[in-house]
């Protein structure tokens, strides 16, 4: 008989090993999936994980993409991890991302064609506020009425998508766009564009903010009392209550942080890589960031690495589509599997595996 014995404390070693193990397992099972699809498994895995960085022909294009894709993922995942640590499940980051983009872009477009240097900072603030405000809806409903934040935040994703569809063919539509849906292109408007800061690196303001967020989150959890309170609320809610932690404040803080960061990510995306508000502007970063947060063990440095890895699967996935005709959806499945394997192998972190007849 195999049975599990709870560890007194989560194993430090396994905390680090399990993400690696999950990636390896995903590669193996993913390879089997590719084989089942009639694609060469080893080549597919290599195309996803190796070629974007080291292929002599494509790496030049795809290496900068790594930061472009990792930026929003890390930014959103850092915000989510703050909540997840406190046991607050904001899964509506996608909606906050959309609202951040709409508010930031809207604030900028209202002043078109201003060339003020203050325009872009103002849009950044508007973007963060948009995401923040959207996340305050589940936060306030939770603190005032005890409404489940999981369902409310998720429902708001669909509401945000309807708003996105509405504004991109209405309020924010490009007046010079000959009636096509979609806003003005920010890439053609210098004061409002989020450009690459260092040529051919993919480094844009969103990546800078992502790195700042990583450091800020690290300081928060390692050095700040609020970070301690958040962890305490997640691990021992009753103890937190007795220690004088106000649970409502934690909810407001965690959801607000997640919303503001997701809003920032949306703003940087719409003014940078995406270029404009359009009906299909959002691409699921808000959901993939959930995987990033878990894969990074809700730890800022872990999230940084996990964000880069997940960005790699995006770029490698596109490359594999191009080179091997691997269906795009298989990458989505691949990412989902990664989370599944991580959660499965996590048993080693919290439990010892014992063989033989146990006391239980």
């Amino acid at each position: 008989m195999i049975h599990l014995e709870k560890r007194p404390q989560p194993s430090q070693v396994w905390t680090v090993i399990t993400p690696v193990l999950a990636v390896i397992l995903t590669m193996i099972v993913g390879g089997m999936m590719f084989a089942a699809l009639g694609k060469p498994p080893l080549e597919a895995i290599r195309t996803i994980f190796w070629d974007p960085l080291f292929h002599p022909q494509f790496a030049g294009y795809s290496r900068p993409q790594l930061l472009v894709k990792a930026g929003p993922l890390i930014l959103i995942a850092i915000g989510l991890s703050v909540g997840f640590r406190a046991g607050i499940w904001n899964i509506g980051a996608e909606g906050q991302y959309i609202m951040g983009a709409i508010c930031g872009a809207g604030a900028g477009l209202a002043l078109y064609p201003s060339e003020s240097v203050l325009l872009f900072p103002m849009m950044v603030i508007a973007g963060a506020l948009g995401g923040w405000a959207w996340s305050m809806i589940p936060a306030i409903l939770k603190t005032k009425f005890g409404t489940n934040e999981i369902l409310v935040s998720l429902m708001l994703v669909y509401v945000a998508e309807s708003i996105l569809a509405s504004v991109s063919s209405g309020l924010l539509r490009n007046p010079d766009g000959m009636g096509f849906p979609g806003s003005r292109n920010f890439q053609q408007w210098d004061a409002a564009a989020n450009r690459e800061l260092i040529a051919n690196t993919g480094m844009h303001w969103g990546v800078v903010f992502a790195l700042i967020a990583v450091i800020a989150a690290y300081v928060l959890f390692a050095r700040h009392i609020r970070g301690f309170q958040i962890r305490l609320s997640g691990e021992a809610p009753r103890a937190a209550r007795f220690a004088g932690v106000n649970p409502n404040r934690i909810v407001i803080f965690c959801l607000g942080t997640a919303g503001a960061l997701a809003g920032l990510a949306g703003l940087f995306e719409v003014t940078g890589p995406a270029g404009q508000i359009s009906i299909d502007f959002n691409s699921g970063y808000g959901f993939t960031a959930i995987i990033v947060a878990f894969l990074g063990r809700l730890h800022p440095v872990g999230i940084l690495l996990a964000g880069l890895l997940m960005a790699l699967t995006y770029i490698g996935g596109e490359l594999a589509q191009l080179m091997l005709g691997v269906p795009g959806a298989s990458i989505q499945l691949f990412q989902g599997m990664l989370l599944f394997f991580l959660l499965a192998t996590d048993v080693f972190t919290n439990y010892r595996i014992r063989f033989g007849q146990g006391a239980a």
């Binding site: 409903l141 998720l154 708001l156 878990f294 499945l333 990412q335 989902g336 989370l339 499965a344």
Partner: protein, 307 residues
């Protein structure tokens, strides 16, 4: 706006059709949650059921077989959730989300070749004089089998939970798994069976979407129906009868907003298409503000025999 273009008879009939997928998924999830397990993967299981049911129906020309295989596929998928949360003791919220993401990926992978295809759909039942009755016949007695099966399922679930021994054990496991374990009930096994049942129901609901309600396969076609099913379980305070009321209420909102859109109502389309989700939020707020919960006491808590 021309409201007279909305035919009340057809309206009720289409409410029944649009409520059925949510009802199927919600009643399954309710059983899972009564056993103390929170499976947030309903959306993923539903969409897997939708694509599998559609693919099987297209390839075999037999929609009934489509439903059966869809239920089986989603139930098998839900077992992965069961293994992770029950045997490997993973976090239920995270695993449920993972199941949704896996389901969405898997479904769009399987469904790619089937986009834009037509499938055979379920025939409408002919119930003799019932179907021939004026008004009521069209409204209530001229649907396909699944509409009635879903309602029958609600009654069966209600009766099993209330009157049978297995229902009592299931509720015991959900209310206090330690006590149930001490009494010698196999907590993990019972929960696995509940999860399997919930998966099968979600699969049926998904197949109903792609085979009857739409009937077509498009990527991401569940569009939050699984999450609405989860909300309905909360709305229903974990009672079977109220699950049916909730599902029909939401079916009603969905159909009504579609009708209003078609009739060109003077309401922004964005507001109309967001209305089922806004309605869900509103109902959740109302339920939580009232303070009556009735959630199973062990809901979402991991069970480990040594603990």
């Amino acid at each position: 706006m021309d409201l007279s273009s909305i035919n009340p008879v057809l309206l009720v009939a289409s409410i029944m059709v649009s409520a059925t997928p949510i009802l199927l998924a919600a009643i399954g999830e309710m059983v899972v949650e009564r056993a103390g397990v929170l499976n947030l993967g309903v959306e993923g299981m539903m969409i897997t059921g939708a694509v599998v049911g559609f693919a099987v129906a297209v390839n075999t020309g037999n929609p009934a077989l489509g439903f059966a295989v869809a239920a089986l596929a989603s139930a098998v998928l839900s077992l992965s959730f069961g293994v992770l949360t029950q045997l490997l003791l993973s976090n239920q919220v995270a695993t449920g989300l993972g199941l949704t993401l896996v389901g969405l990926g898997l479904s769009s992978l399987i469904g790619k070749p089937y986009e834009g295809m037509k499938s055979p759909t379920l025939p409408k039942l002919d119930m003799g004089f019932l179907s021939d009755m004026p008004v009521v016949g069209r409204m209530l007695f001229s649907h396909d089998l699944m509409v009635y099966l879903s309602l029958a399922l609600v009654i069966v679930v209600w009766a099993v939970l209330k009157y049978t021994r297995i229902g009592l054990i299931l509720r015991a496991v959900g209310e206090n798994h330690d006590a149930a374990h001490a009494l010698g009930y196999k907590v993990v096994r019972i929960r696995m069976m509940a999860i399997f049942f919930g998966g099968a129901c979600a699969g049926l609901g998904g197949a109903y979407l792609s085979l009857v309600r739409v009937p077509q396969w498009t990527e991401g076609m569940t569009a939050g129906a699984g999450w609405i099913a989860l909300a309905i379980v909360v709305f229903a305070s974990w009672r079977a009868g109220r699950v049916a009321i909730g599902a029909y209420l939401f079916g009603g909102v969905t159909v009504l907003q579609l009708n209003l859109q078609a009739a060109g109502a003077a309401v922004p389309v964005a507001l109309l298409s967001a209305s089922p989700y806004l309605m869900t939020i509103l109902v959740l707020v109302f339920i939580s503000a009232r303070g009556a919960h009735g959630a199973p006491a062990s809901l979402g808590r991991p069970f480990h025999a040594s603990a």
